[in-house]
Symmetry: C2
Subunit: 338 residues, 2 copies
């Protein structure tokens, strides 16, 4: 069942059938109808493989995330898949586990050419330098907290501001001993560092000192890390009365520890998270959080990537900021927020 078969039945050239199938301009209504009829009659469906080869494009984009089972990413992915499909693109999903080598390979087109036409990439293990050293011909959009060097687009929210707002929210509640869970003071921890900066800024604005001993690092941003760090904090002489967690998962882990120790949230310790994942809305108590506009991030990323793929000369790398907002729930405001 090839173009040629359809062409024969319709009494036109195969090139014309191709034109019809692809909705190209300049086809008479008469021929279009005749071809369409033949297509329907034979149940013809184009062979993507051949099309891809001829076009030199795969019609696929890769989305590279560190972890797939992280709700934040799977929620984001849904938006990306939807947006890509609308444009006739398929999405290949890749999980790197933050593995540096794996990440490097992927932004260099993987092990074979043309599997995907571009990448939406959420780096974890990769340094800014490694990003710069990538295959320059592979269209790239970066998510998260990197800064564009001008050769790719970067989509994210304003982390420093968001983190400052989160911290200010805790201060507004009258809390005085604020902890932060999730700092990563090393090269690849830029995301975390921006949040720490926001945390500090909030203190500075109020003229308050940062309780340095309550700023805790974690290797990742999930429940276990949060639970462990919280336990650590509670063992201090002067434990915190509020915690800024660098992700909702961390917050859920922290709450888990708190409740496990018989402490009340938020009465004894207020907890704020980051990401606004669905779990946080149905936890006990529901988690106050910074909510990035994920839909916007997803569509913007896809849009920019396809633009890059489509244009012969690479457009300049943009810094794109999606909006975010503070969503107050019970984990800081208490029952009245529910």
């Amino acid at each position: 069942m090839t173009l040629r078969d359809v062409a024969e039945l319709a009494g036109v050239s195969s090139r014309t059938v191709s034109n019809v199938v692809n909705g190209y301009a300049n086809v008479t209504e008469r021929t279009r109808l005749r071809v369409q009829q033949a297509v329907d009659q034979l149940g013809y469906r184009p062979n993507v493989l051949a099309r891809n080869l001829a076009r030199g494009r795969s019609g696929q984009i890769a989305v590279v995330v560190p972890y797939l089972d992280t709700p934040y990413f799977s929620e984001l992915l849904q938006g990306i898949i939807r947006a890509a499909r609308v444009q006739g693109y398929n999405v290949l999903i890749d999980q790197t586990d933050g593995d540096r080598e794996h990440e490097r390979m992927l932004i260099n087109h993987g092990s074979s050419r043309l599997l995907f036409d571009g990448v939406i990439f959420s780096p974890l293990g990769l340094s800014q330098q490694a990003l710069a050293d990538r295959d320059p011909d592979l269209p790239l959009v970066v998510l998260g907290e990197r800064v564009s060097d001008g050769t790719f687009d970067h989509v994210g929210i304003d982390d420093v501001t968001a983190s400052r707002q989160a911290t200010e929210h805790l201060l507004d509640l009258g809390r005085t001993r604020l902890a932060a869970i999730g700092d990563q003071p090393y090269e690849t921890g830029e995301a975390a560092q921006l949040r720490t900066r926001g945390f500090r800024e909030a203190h500075e604005r109020r003229g308050l000192p940062v309780r340095e001993d309550l700023v805790i690092g974690t290797p990742r941003f999930n429940r276990v890390d949060g639970a462990g760090a919280m336990a650590h904090l509670l063992d201090r002489d002067d434990p915190p009365d509020a915690v800024f967690c660098y992700s909702d998962l961390v917050a859920l882990g922290a709450i888990h520890t708190l409740v496990g120790r018989g402490l009340r949230v938020p009465e004894d310790v207020a907890v704020i998270g980051y990401d606004d994942i669905e779990d946080g809305r149905y936890s006990n108590p529901p988690v106050t959080t910074i909510s990035p506009d994920k839909e916007m991030i997803a569509t913007t990323a896809v849009e920019r990537l396809l633009l890059r793929i489509g244009s012969a000369t690479a457009p300049p790398g943009l810094e794109l900021r999606a909006p975010h907002r503070l969503v107050v729930r019970e984990s800081t405001a208490g029952r009245r927020a529910g």
Copy 2:
């Protein structure tokens, strides 16, 4: 940078380069070395598009799930992706939202041929009949609770037994008023119905009557459904003292409602879930659950699918059962389980 370029540099035919690149047998060590050197020198990487066209296979499999942000699926997906990659296959992920039409399209090769060589499918909206009416040439492995009609493989756990065990666990705790949340007494709700059957069997074995008014249906298996159904149950004159939830998400939603109403879990109401998602381990309290061996399900599904793809004559459709176990946590056993 094509095979031909490499061939020229190495002084062999392009076919030989192809043989080397693909690790085919019958290549002298000497030539292999020479070719490999040329490959490295030129940084040659095969063009997957061309390879796919020539081979008539895309090297991709589609995984079709109803919802991507459901932790159960994203956890399963990770295993599938890993298993597929090992075999040199890529995974295309598709979310259907349970849409019947979308599902039907996908098990008929989508809108174009050869995008994927086979499908791992977790049906939701599709009836048994629709499954049977699919494109018979598309290798298919079904996950979940369908029964194979002999033309595809089916991988799942023994839902009836698992559900019976879950229910028996509640009865063992001395609970007498058992509720079940998640029944779906209609054509496409087979998964739910098997669980309800297990729920009944447990009662029958003990010679106890099923409290029919405490068997609650829900359209889906997530938090909101669980929260709503639980609220509903608590408004009864004679509310349950134990609840069997047909997914962990439902259980989390139910617990949310319970705690919100000031009830204690498990003292007032014991809650058991299904799926053993990570969230359930870090919730308050941690959720007792039926834990399917997801790793096993994933690898089995991939293995069987690739076998189908590889063999000219379709192998018989198998019913494959992955093991499961009951994991007891605090939501039924109380603090001592933690």
